[in-house]
Symmetry: C2
């Protein structure tokens, strides 16, 4: 099989560690940091699906707003009193999530092979810009693609269609990398050659479709080449 | 405001107790029954959204199949060895979920007021038929509407549109009742006059829209009249 000409990465959970908010959450709410981090993330994804499924874009709100809404929900659900100063601190932390340690090395290895690189993310352009700059990845990414332009979140086909549209490549020429099983599944359904990076030893989705590859680090993307 | 001419109820979680599988789950997997019940339900909803968001119907599978897939996922996630006999028992239990105790009384009160009654559910027709018969609700429901005919799950607008289509009523003449906050939100967005029955003391979704009414029992639907 022909080698991919481009690799697109999911951002949140894949390049950036969404659970790196846990430390601050634990400082603010001792004993509840981890639970808050998990519920916040689950609800954030939940909300992307809810607005996208419900009305084809008319209930769309940028990822940043849904992230804030999810934080408020998670705190209410856990009976945590979220004051606005704490909310701002947690949201600011989300803007500057830790990057996974292998990101730079893997992106550099792809650039050395003259592979087009990019992000295809639910994040809105401003969030993505800050995250990419904070992680020092600017020079290593040819494209930073946000679903914001189509006002639908992954796993909607209009979101995944941005990959071929922006790169000008055929879907079969693009590899897609995500640590989120649902995203790896959605991308595979859409037609990408997909690597699921299973960072946390989870089962894959039980919906009868498997990604082209499964690994445990972004480095495994190099096996496409 | 004019009184509703019809009331449509969500089924799973609203008329039928999705957590009533917990007892059998606990027998089969001591110490893990509650966790399995919760994760099974969460994943089931997750899968309805995933297939509906991903491809406008082409990845649709009936609720029964998604329920089985969700059970398999939940067991793998919790490292429980699900043998096929146990799977069949749990699925059979799901087919015969406990009905909430106030169902009959509330439906009867609506019939006494000459209100059209029905279910509008993600469940497929066979599942719904068995559940309705098991609960002895046949004579009290004018319509049992499954999203299966449109191959999209709530909160997709095509699913909610079945209410006016099947009853022949205007959306403003129909009250919708759900114990699931996401469903109450989706129905409100679609245009129904919605009662959210908050059985478990949870926060509502933080997406800026509130249902017309919030209560803690199906009986609260009578306040529309």
């Amino acid at each position: 099989m022909e080698k991919p000409k481009a690799v697109l990465f999911d951002a949140y959970g894949t390049l950036f560690d969404v659970y790196s908010v846990g430390l601050l959450a634990e400082q603010l709410f001792p004993g509840k940091g981890e639970a808050l981090g998990v519920l916040w993330r689950d609800k954030q994804i939940d909300y992307t699906r809810l607005v996208t499924t419900s009305n084809h874009g008319s209930h769309y709100r940028p990822f940043w707003e849904l992230t804030r809404a999810a934080l408020r929900y998670a705190c209410k659900r856990l009976a945590l009193d979220l004051q606005s100063a704490a909310e701002d601190r947690l949201m600011n932390q989300y803007r500057h999530l830790s990057a996974f340690p292998e990101n730079r090395e893997v992106l550099q290895a792809l650039k050395d092979r003259h592979v087009v690189t990019g992000i295809l993310s639910n994040g809105d352009p401003e969030m993505l810009g800050v995250a990419v700059r904070s992680a020092g990845l600017e020079g290593l990414l040819d494209h930073v693609i946000s679903v914001d332009s189509v006002r639908k979140f992954k796993t909607h086909p209009d979101a995944y269609a941005l990959g071929p549209q922006v790169t000008g490549l055929d879907i079969k020429q693009i590899a897609f990398v995500s640590c989120n099983a649902w995203d790896a599944l959605g991308a595979t359904w859409f037609g990408y050659r997909t690597l699921w990076v299973n960072r946390y030893g989870l089962p894959f989705e039980e919906l009868g479709t498997q990604p082209a590859r499964t690994g445990n680090s972004l480095r495994d993307v190099l096996e496409f080449f």
